[in-house]
């Protein structure tokens, strides 16, 4: 009996870790999604980055295409969520980003500030492109 309980707990833990590894958490908050989105980009784990987009974006861009093209753009070095507001099923954030120089050109990092819009989709929060 004790062995069965342990196995069940391990199975649940394994499933949870697996879901986290793919960046998708059905109960994620907008902040969770933003952190997954940018942290994965820092690691060049663009499959996980892709998972964070909403279904509208995924309907037009495949994971393979996204990963291929994103890999040719600049690598994200740091991010900071400056502002985050939630209103119903949508959220807006202002995020400061620092990118490595694209293509190795130059040495100065590129700094920018972007606005992200998130939408609630299937119980989770996703990055909306349009």
């Amino acid at each position: 009996m004790r062995k069965s309980v342990v196995l069940i707990v391990l199975a649940i833990a394994s499933l949870s870790l697996s879901a986290c590894a793919r960046g998708y958490q059905s109960s994620a908050t907008p902040r969770n999604t933003l952190e997954t989105f940018f942290t994965s980009a820092q690691k060049a784990d663009y499959s996980t980055t892709y998972d964070c987009y909403d279904s509208q974006y995924k309907a037009t861009v495949s994971e393979a295409d996204f990963v291929g093209h994103r890999g040719r753009a600049a690598v994200l070095k740091t991010y900071h969520i400056d502002e985050l507001s939630v209103s119903g099923d949508s959220a807006n954030a202002v995020v400061s980003l620092t990118f490595a120089p694209v293509g190795g050109a130059g040495t100065s990092p590129h700094v920018t500030k972007v606005q992200e819009r998130l939408v609630r989709e299937s119980g989770g929060w996703r990055i909306a492109v349009r």
């Binding site: 037009t60 295409d65 600049a74 694209v102 492109v129």
Partner: protein, 645 residues
């Protein structure tokens, strides 16, 4: 006797077989399908204005058209009537397939006081992820806009910006190497001096065309998202500085040039430059490795960038296509090896949806470079719509699609004012496209993905033009709006008295020229909504549609300068106008059928000696009065056609 009978029967059978074979081998054949679903359409009518055929359960038709050129139409209730031109050759059948678009949905149009229509000029622009080794094309995109509102169309100020693309330097190294290409540009400023936000220039004041060229946008949003279909926001201010309209317009750009397909995945640019150096004795790779890459157009002239190249060096388009001739696949797949591309789909407009590929308009890769060798100017001499569309549904004579304007509006008052692309979008992405991102403006104004067809997009509900003639913008076969026309040419309107079709005559109170209409609904609409412009003069004559002699098409031409009409039932005159006078007369197709048999009552044609307009009269007393009293103004040209009783 029995042998004679058998021989006769054999001869008859042979004759029938030969006759059947002859029929099958001439005329026009093809299939009619739904453009959205690809399903075959049965019961569709295809006609050349003289003969017609109906598709069977397989969507197939066989039209017994005579040899020569024809303007065909295909129609079916629930679909928009569609037109194509074709030439029936001797000894074989022409093949013309159709993809019909479902009729316009009847959706209310939101009220507005100012409308802005905007479009990208090319459907897709090419860009490079890296410029470290060479530059084929820089970040360069172009937007156009027209404003329709209460003020003079040239009195507005239009600014553009991108909500998610404010800094192209984040994801492209173009500005690092731009000086090496001869461009000393501030960061995020393109070749023409425009940036990622700015004010559109009034490029053509006469037509109210605003343009921003060379916008250095890339397929990457600032946060790194790959979005080749990013949108610009246009903000329109009136002369008082008040924002009167905003809209989004897609600005497509792609880096999907798949050099790695042939040049290796490690570093295709190195392989390309090595091969170029080996073949031509250049030092491009060494130069690039030394931090001084070159633009192809430094040596190879490129009309896309307006760069002259060097004397004796072939143009970039010629060199690229000739070198790759035979190395890429045939058809669109081959073009997409270098041009963007199988994912981003430069070619995604309604013609692509109807099964047309790159080579249908441009020819194959061999044709591209051999045509340049024969004198074609790349980027300047472009494929023409009138290769497949008749003159009333194609670009202006002698003018490219991207520079053409509406010049066959129903009332003539919109002529010269609206660019084709304002309603139909840019080339390669003509509405309705495969990509929903292209339809932002039509979705905003019409609530659908169609081209701009609804008069109320620009006209308020109480404008007379809103319901003018119950048709869309184009005269001469414009598709009804919103209801489909269930009846095929050449007899699109039922005769109210069974077989007698009345032809109504109107006189334009401003210009004095005449309009004849066989459409009772059109007649009612003109009388109801345009009585200040058109005076209804009554039934000019009636055509007995039951008389077999009244089966000759009466072709209509519209004068491009004056907007008035010429009708002829004489095939030789029709052919002569099309062949020799196309710069003055736009062929609009068959209006209705009449007789050319002189046993019928003549309809007399008069030509105005002053303004060149035409008057047709079937009334002998009117003819006599004009000849007796108005011959200084009207010249009798003789019978134009006849009306069999």
């Amino acid at each position: 006797m029995k042998r004679v009978l058998l021989v006769s029967l054999s001869a008859l059978a042979l004759s029938l077989a030969l006759a059947t074979a002859a029929f099958a081998a001439t005329g026009v054949t093809g299939t009619v399908k739904d453009i959205n679903t690809g399903a075959v359409i049965s019961g569709a009518t295809v006609t050349d204005g003289v003969v017609s055929a109906t598709t069977g359960s397989g969507g197939v038709y066989a039209l017994a058209s005579a040899l020569g050129s024809h303007t065909l139409s295909a129609s079916k209730s629930g679909y928009l009537k569609t037109y194509q031109v074709c030439t029936v050759p001797a000894g074989s059948a022409a093949k013309v397939d159709w993809f019909l678009t479902p009729s316009y949905p009847a959706k209310p149009v939101p009220a507005k006081s100012v409308t802005v229509l905007a479009w990208n000029d090319l459907g897709m622009h090419c860009d490079q992820d890296s410029y470290k080794y060479f530059m084929v094309l820089p970040p360069y995109n172009t937007l156009h806009a027209q404003v329709f509102g209460p003020e003079d169309a040239t009195g507005y100020t239009i600014t553009y910006s991108f909500a998610k693309k404010k800094d192209s330097t984040l994801h492209t190294d173009f500005w690092t190497y731009a000086p090496s290409f001869g461009f000393n540009l501030p960061k995020n400023v393109g070749l023409t001096g425009n940036g990622l936000s700015g004010t559109m220039k009034l490029e053509n004041a006469a037509r109210g065309l605003y343009t921003a060229t060379g916008i250095p946008v890339t397929p990457y949003d600032d946060d790194g998202t790959w979005d080749p279909y990013g949108a610009a926001t246009l903000t329109v201010k009136n002369s008082a500085g008040t924002v009167v309209a905003t809209t989004n317009v897609v600005t497509p750009v792609s880096t999907e040039m798949s050099c790695s397909t042939c040049h290796g995945t490690t570093n295709p640019a190195v392989d390309i430059l090595s091969k170029h150096d080996d073949s031509n004795g250049t030092t491009l790779l060494a130069d690039a490795n030394a931090g001084h890459p070159h633009a192809c157009a430094e040596c190879h002239s490129d009309n896309a960038l307006g760069m002259a190249g060097k004397p004796g060096v072939p143009s970039l388009s010629y060199a690229m296509h000739k070198f790759h001739d035979g190395k890429v696949a045939s058809g669109t797949a081959g073009c997409y090896t270098c041009h963007p591309g199988p994912k981003t789909e430069c070619l995604r407009g309604i013609m692509a949806r109807a099964g047309k590929g790159c080579v249908d308009c441009h020819g194959d890769v061999n044709k591209v470079w051999t045509s340049i060798a024969s004198g074609r100017k790349p980027w300047l001499d472009e494929p023409r719509c009138d290769q497949c569309h008749d003159a009333s549904r194609a670009e202006n004579a002698g003018t490219l699609y991207r520079n053409s304007v509406l010049n066959n509006s129903v009332a003539g008052d919109m002529n010269g004012k609206i660019y084709c692309e304002a309603c139909h979008n840019g080339t390669h992405a003509e509405s309705t496209t495969k990509n929903p991102a292209d339809a932002v403006i039509s979705q905003t104004y019409q609530g659908d993905n169609y081209w701009i067809y609804n008069c109320q997009v620009c006209h308020k509900g109480n404008d007379s033009e809103t319901t003018f003639r119950g048709q869309a913008m184009h005269a001469g076969g414009g598709v009804p709006n919103p209801d489909p026309n269930p009846n095929p040419d050449p007899d699109p309107n039922p005769s109210p008295n069974g077989t007698d079709r009345p032809i109504y005559r109107f006189r334009n109170l401003r210009s004095g020229f005449y309009l004849w209409s066989a459409d009772s609904a059109e007649k009612a609409t003109i009388i109801e909504t345009l009585s200040t412009t058109w005076k209804y003069e009554g039934v000019a004559y009636q055509v007995n549609t039951a008389n077999a002699l009244n089966q000759s098409p009466l072709w209509r031409f519209r004068n491009l300068a004056g907007g008035f009409y010429l009708y002829t039932a004489n095939p030789a005159e029709k052919a002569n106008i099309i062949a020799n006078l196309a710069s003055s007369w736009r062929y609009e197709g068959p209006a209705y059928n009449v007789s050319t048999d002189q046993s019928g009552a003549p309809v007399w044609r008069f030509r105005n000696r002053g303004n060149g307009t035409y008057l047709y009269s079937a009334d002998p007393s009117e003819k006599a009065n004009i000849v007796a009293n108005l011959s200084a103004t009207w010249k009798l040209e003789g019978p134009a056609f006849y009306l069999a009783p």
